[in-house]
C-alpha cells in the first residue's frame, strides 16, 4: 500500500507542477474526474500565495496592473515557494524577480519600490522598542555624547534609492496621485514610533550619518566620516532629525 510519505511526495510534486498527473491513490471514476478534484488544491494553494504577495506588495500590484502582477506572482511562486507557514515572511525576493522579467528594464525603480514595501511589512511586525527622543541629548555631557553609540530601533529601516520611490509610494496612496519625477534620488526612512508606520525622506547627509551610526560606530566617528565627505555636515541637526523620526531605541555610553 502507498505510504503516507510517498503520497505526500507525489502530491507535492503535482502541486508544484501543473503538467504532472495527480497522485495515483485518488479514487475517482475517471482520470479527468480525479484531476479536477486535485486541481481544487492546486487552485487553493495558488490563490492563497497570490493573495499573500498582493497583500505584501500592494503598490507593486498597482504599478504593474493586475494581469502582469498575477502572471509574475505565479512564476515567482514556482521559482521561490514559501518554506514556512507564516506568510507575512514570504516573498522577500519578489522585487529582484520582477526586475529580471523581460519588458521590465524600462522601469528600473520597481525593485526599490518592492524593497520599500517589504521593509514596511517587516517594520509593521518588528519588536515594540521604545523610541529614543532628542530630549535625552540634554541629559548627556557633550564629551560622553560624542563617545556614545546608538542602537537602531527594530522598526527603523533606511532605503537609499537612485529613484524617487518615497514620492512614488506616497502618490499611490491618493486616489488621484500627482505625477512623480522618478529620476530624483531619494533616501526613505521607515519608522514606527508606536504602531503606525511612518515614511520620511532623508537628505543624503542624513542617510550617510544614519548608515554610519547603524554600523555601530560612535557619534564622533560617524560625524568625522560625514565631515570628510561634506565639510558643511551639521551633526546636531542630523542627530536631532533622525532621533525625532524614531530611528533609534537606545544610546550606549
Amino acid at each position: 500500500m502507498l505510504t503516507l510519505d510517498s503520497f505526500q511526495h507525489d502530491a507535492a510534486l503535482a502541486l508544484n507542477d501543473p503538467t504532472r498527473q495527480s497522485p495515483q491513490n485518488i479514487a475517482g471514476r475517471t482520470i479527468e474526474g480525479s484531476s479536477r478534484r486535485f486541481n481544487i488544491y492546486r487552485n487553493n494553494r495558488a490563490g492563497s500565495l497570490l493573495e499573500s504577495l498582493q497583500g505584501t506588495y500592494p503598490v507593486l500590484h498597482k504599478l504593474l496592473g493586475d494581469d502582469f502582477f498575477r502572471t509574475a506572482a505565479r512564476q515567482y511562486i514556482d521559482e521561490s515557494p514559501p518554506s514556512g507557514p507564516v506568510l507575512s515572511e514570504y516573498g522577500e525576493r519578489f522585487g529582484d524577480f520582477i526586475q529580471r522579467l523581460p519588458g521590465v528594464s524600462k522601469y528600473p525603480y520597481l525593485n526599490d519600490v518592492a524593497k520599500l514595501e517589504w521593509q514596511r511589512l517587516q517594520s509593521y511586525h518588528a519588536a515594540d522598542d521604545a523610541v529614543l527622543f532628542p530630549a535625552v541629548l540634554q541629559t548627556i555631557e557633550p564629551s560622553t555624547l560624542l563617545a556614545s553609540r546608538f542602537t537602531p530601533h527594530s522598526a527603523a529601516h533606511l532605503i537609499e534609492s537612485r529613484w524617487a520611490i518615497g514620492s512614488l509610494w506616497s502618490s499611490t496612496q491618493e486616489p488621484d496621485g500627482s505625477q512623480v519625477n522618478l529620476s530624483q534620488a531619494e533616501n526613505v526612512l521607515i519608522t514606527r514610533p508606536q504602531f503606525d508606520l511612518q515614511l520620511q525622506l532623508v537628505s543624503s547627509d542624513g542617510a550617510m550619518f544614519m548608515r554610519q551610526l547603524c554600523n555601530g560606530v560612535t557619534i564622533e566617528q560617524a560625524a568625522t566620516h560625514c565631515l570628510s565627505v561634506n565639510a558643511n555636515f551639521d551633526t546636531g541637526t542630523h542627530l536631532q532629525g533622525l532621533m525625532g523620526m524614531g530611528a533609534f531605541s537606545q544610546i550606549i555610553h
Binding site: R37, R45, G84, S123
Partner: protein, 301 residues
C-alpha cells in the same frame, strides 16, 4: 499521552475548551478599531496563530487589548499535523510561545498537512484514513499537547476527493484519535456539508458517528459551488460569503444531537462590513439560545 482526569486543577488547565457557549467571530485587522471603540456583544474571538507570530507591532498590541475584553480561541493553520515528516520544531515553539502569552480559552488545528520537504503548500491537504496515518497524527497531537501544556481541538477537513488507500471512515479515525490522545474536536459543519456532498455520503450520519461529547467548538462558513462539470458539481470551502441555508439547517440538526456548543462564523476572504459579520453572529446566537432553552427544560424536567 494526556489522560482525561477529572477534578484536580491540572486537568482543568488542560481542558479542551473554555469558550462560552455563544457565537464568536474571527478577528480581522480591519475591525480592530471598531471592536475596541464599541465593545460589541460578541461571545468570543478567534485568530489564526500564524498571523500573530511577529516580534511586536499592531497585531499583537490590538490582540492583547481585545483579549482583555473577550474570550479567545487560537486556531493554527500551519502546524501540518498530518505531515509524514514530523512537526516543524521551530514553528511549534513559536506557536507554543504565542499560546503561552495569550492563554486562550481554546487551541485548535486541522487533520491535514501543508508542509513537505521544507516547502509550505498554503492549503489544508488531505490524508488517507488508515492505521499508519492515525498513529502518526496521534503522535503529533501528543507532542503538540505536551508542548502547549493543554488539550487541543482537532478540526475535520473539507474534502474534495477520496483515497483508495483509506481503510477506515473519517469519523472513525477522528473518534480513535480523540480516544487515544484526549484531544477534543472542532466540528466544522460547513466542512461536513462540503465533504458529504463531494464524497457522496450523508452529512448527519457522519456527525452522528462522531464522539459528540468531545466537540469543544463548531465552525460555520460560506462555500462556493463549482459547476464546471454540470453533472458533477463540487462544493468548495471559500470562507468568502454568508453561511448557506443548507449549512444552517445542518447546524441546527447538529446541535439537537450534540447540544449547544461555542460557534464561530468564519469569513476570511472578501471580508464584509462589520454589520454583516454581526448579523451572521446573531443568527448563530439565536439558534444557540433556542437550543439552550430546550436543554434547560430537559434538565429541569
Amino acid at each position: 499521552m494526556l489522560s482525561q482526569q477529572n477534578g484536580d486543577k491540572s486537568s482543568q488547565d488542560r481542558s479542551r475548551s473554555w469558550l462560552p457557549v455563544r457565537g464568536g467571530l474571527c478577528l480581522k485587522p480591519q475591525h480592530y478599531h471598531d471592536i475596541l471603540e464599541t465593545l460589541p456583544d460578541v461571545g468570543w474571538f478567534e485568530v489564526h496563530a500564524e498571523n500573530y507570530l511577529g516580534d511586536g507591532g499592531a497585531p499583537l498590541h490590538y490582540l492583547e487589548k481585545i483579549r482583555e475584553h473577550y474570550p479567545l480561541s487560537v486556531h493554527g493553520v500551519g502546524l501540518s499535523i498530518g505531515s509524514s515528516q514530523g512537526l516543524d520544531e521551530h514553528h511549534l515553539s513559536r506557536v507554543a510561545n504565542m499560546v503561552q502569552r495569550f492563554e486562550p480559552e481554546s487551541f485548535s488545528e486541522h487533520l491535514a498537512w501543508s508542509t513537505h520537504d521544507n516547502q509550505f503548500y498554503s492549503d489544508l491537504l488531505p490524508v488517507p484514513y488508515n492505521r499508519e496515518v492515525e498513529d502518526l497524527v496521534c503522535q503529533h497531537i501528543d507532542q503538540l499537547q505536551e508542548r502547549i501544556g493543554r488539550q487541543m481541538l482537532l478540526e475535520n477537513p473539507s474534502n474534495y476527493l477520496m483515497m483508495d488507500n483509506s481503510t477506515q471512515e473519517e469519523a472513525q479515525m477522528l473518534s480513535n484519535i480523540v480516544q487515544r490522545t484526549g484531544c477534543g474536536l472542532l466540528l466544522d459543519v460547513n466542512n461536513v456539508h462540503i465533504s458529504a456532498h463531494n464524497c457522496d455520503y450523508d452529512a448527519l450520519d457522519y456527525i452522528s458517528s462522531l464522539p459528540l461529547h468531545a466537540v469543544g467548538e463548531i465552525h460555520l462558513a460560506g462555500h462556493a459551488t463549482d459547476t464546471a462539470v454540470a453533472s458533477e458539481p463540487l462544493l468548495i470551502d471559500t470562507h468568502d460569503r454568508q453561511v448557506a441555508d443548507s449549512v444552517w439547517a445542518l447546524y441546527e440538526a447538529t446541535l439537537t444531537k450534540a447540544g449547544a456548543k461555542p460557534t464561530l462564523i468564519e469569513w476570511d476572504a472578501s471580508v464584509p462590513k462589520w454589520s454583516v459579520f454581526l448579523s451572521e453572529l446573531q443568527q448563530a446566537d439565536t439558534i444557540l439560545q433556542s437550543k439552550q432553552v430546550l436543554e434547560n427544560r430537559v434538565d429541569a424536567g
